[in-house]
């Protein structure tokens, strides 16, 4: 016969005898585990999806004029009215030289009011060299502009204004000093997702000629993008550009996506810690209810403890009996919590992140066992004091109890 654990048997039977009470206590742990695991999974999925999108452009350096103060951020456009707020062709050439074999192109950008389909709105308008446009961008439909009155637009732009290839887009307002220009959409860009070098999904990409003609800002580049051949050279190229342009004054800021990734991750991290803290409160409540249930179990069974002690059950066996009881509640609760957090987590991740592509990635799925372990451990810890009380009862006093 296999080695028996009669102490565990007693714990199991006690849980079964007080099933409703035990289930209610376990429910607290279930809720806590689901909350912690789901929030952990949402955060992991967000981070993974952002990382994936950004790492697609991880080999791109963005060089922008150094406007003095901190500045930066990842919003583009916003009007380059400031005189110093552009890069000139000399600087562009310096960057090209410093970047070696990397592909370098300049970018103009402006934000302007537009009218497309039957709607009005604002949009970022980019412009770049014709050749760079063909090298850097990919179309899903249509063709690149062949005249100055033609543009390509991002997929989200198409969706938002409900237009198609061949539709007209009016840029600007007749009251503006630049006046109104009407352009025709000839192509739709492939989705690029979130990126810091060129956020084209919701933007218009025009020809350089059209752009400089309209805004009268020839050779005033908003930014220069450097596509590095080998991602391992990123630091070397950054340094080279920094050396070449920032030797006397800080002329330019050089950003790569890793910094943006860092800032997003840290923001997400802060939000996640906060949310997990709130979820943690539910576990605390669960711990209190387990503690209460265990105290009730001890109080109800004082006499039984007296019997067990008087016929030769050791203190540590009594202790184990009650810790097991808490552990059973904890493990069952955490187990149910784990299954539910897979289901609920899947739905919530889909709802909040928009994709469950990364749901089964290790960083995401490990939140389930993690939540489970935390839940079970909290349960056992809440059971320790009641169990200790039980094991230290005086057998004579305990036997006398009714």
């Amino acid at each position: 016969m296999k080695k028996p654990d009669i102490i565990l048997q007693l714990s199991v039977r006690s849980v079964r005898l007080n099933l409703l009470r035990s289930v209610l206590a376990a429910l607290g742990i279930v809720i806590g585990v689901v909350a912690i695991a789901s929030i952990g999974m949402i955060s992991a999925n967000m981070t993974l999806s952002v990382t994936e999108e950004l790492s697609a452009t991880a080999n791109v350096l963005v060089v922008k004029p150094d406007s003095g103060g901190g500045g930066g951020g990842f919003g583009m456009g916003g009007g380059s009215s400031d005189e110093d707020d552009f890069l000139d062709p000399d600087q562009y050439n310096d960057i090209r030289k410093a970047a070696g074999s990397s592909y370098v192109y300049f970018l103009y950008s402006e934000s302007d009011s537009i009218e497309a389909g039957s709607e009005n709105g604002r949009s970022t308008i980019y412009a770049m060299d014709d050749e760079a446009m063909k090298d850097v961008l990919t179309l899903t439909e249509g063709s690149f502009p062949s005249t100055t009155s033609q543009v390509v637009v991002g997929p989200d732009f198409i969706e938002r204004y409900d237009i198609e290839v061949g539709s007209k887009v009016t840029i600007g307002d007749e009251d503006d000093e630049e006046g109104e220009s009407t352009v025709r959409v000839t192509g739709i860009l492939e989705e690029r997702g979130m990126s810091m070098d060129l956020s084209s999904d919701n933007a218009i990409i025009a020809t350089e000629k059209f752009f400089t003609g309209r805004y009268d800002n020839e050779d005033e580049y908003t930014q220069v993008n450097v596509i590095v051949d080998d991602i391992n050279d990123i630091d070397a190229v950054t340094e080279s550009i920094d050396e070449s342009l920032n030797r006397k004054d800080d002329e330019v800021q050089i950003q790569d996506s890793s910094r943006m990734l860092e800032s997003i991750s840290s923001t997400l991290g802060t939000l996640t810690s906060f949310a997990i803290g709130i979820a943690g409160i539910s576990l605390l409540v669960a711990a209190v209810s387990i503690f209460n249930v265990m105290m009730m179990s001890v109080t109800e069974r004082i006499r039984e403890i007296g019997i067990l002690r008087s016929i030769g059950t050791q203190k540590d066996e009594i202790l184990r009996m009650f810790v097991y009881e808490a552990a059973i509640i904890g493990v069952v609760g955490a187990g149910i919590g784990a299954i539910l957090s897979l289901l609920i987590g899947y739905v919530v991740v889909f709802g909040m992140v928009g994709t469950t592509e990364y749901f089964f990635a290790w960083d995401s799925i490990m939140n389930v066992p993690e939540g489970m372990i935390i839940g079970a451990v909290i349960c056992v810890i809440s059971g320790v004091y009641p169990a200790w009380r039980a094991s230290n009862l005086d057998p004579i006093e305990a036997l006398r109890a009714e």
Binding site: M1, I6, L10, R13, R303, S310, K315
Partner: protein, 224 residues
Amino acid sequence: MDSTPVIALVDVRKIYPLLSGDVHALDGVSLSIAKGEFVAIMGPSGSGKSTLMNQIGCLDVPSSGTVKIDGQDISQLSDFDLTALRRDSIGYIFQKFNLIPLLTAFENVEYPLVLRDRKYDDTGRVQALLDSVGIDAALAAHRPAELSGGQQQRVAVARALVNEPSILLCDEPTGNLDSKTSTQIMEMLARLNREGRTVIMVTHDASTAEYADRTIMIQDGRIV
């Protein structure tokens, strides 16, 4: 009879300190019980007989004096060793039966055996004991709450015997039973005594005390 006593008490005192003054529950009790004896301890309530039983039963240690069980001075033992002594050397039979409600009758009898040997009974000893007290296998599958008082006390007797203790300690074993069942239980204890077991019984019922070889009267913490 054996010359070395199974139980030897020398000048045992037990004092409970209370705010209103110390209570001398045992006030210099000396007692020796030889192997194979059947001893009844009688006395009015509050006389200290329960305290005396707790000393003999290793549930409590004296304030002063020595209590020796099987030659071992219990005041020298740790809680762990006292517990092991209770498990291996003493069989308890209580007035209120005190079976473990979560376990079946069979498991109740098996429990001390499992505590000692770390394995379930595979020798048939548990059922044999149950049979000898008149509990068949079908009845043994029931929980204590489903048994009558007499049946519960029979199970308790079987449990007390399972680890072959040198002492059977009975605290008012018939106190909660009707007279017919009482007689059966007392006959059973007498039989066990004839088979060579040392039986110590607390009672205030003179008719059950008649089964004993010797009756010790106790009053105000002293043997009279």
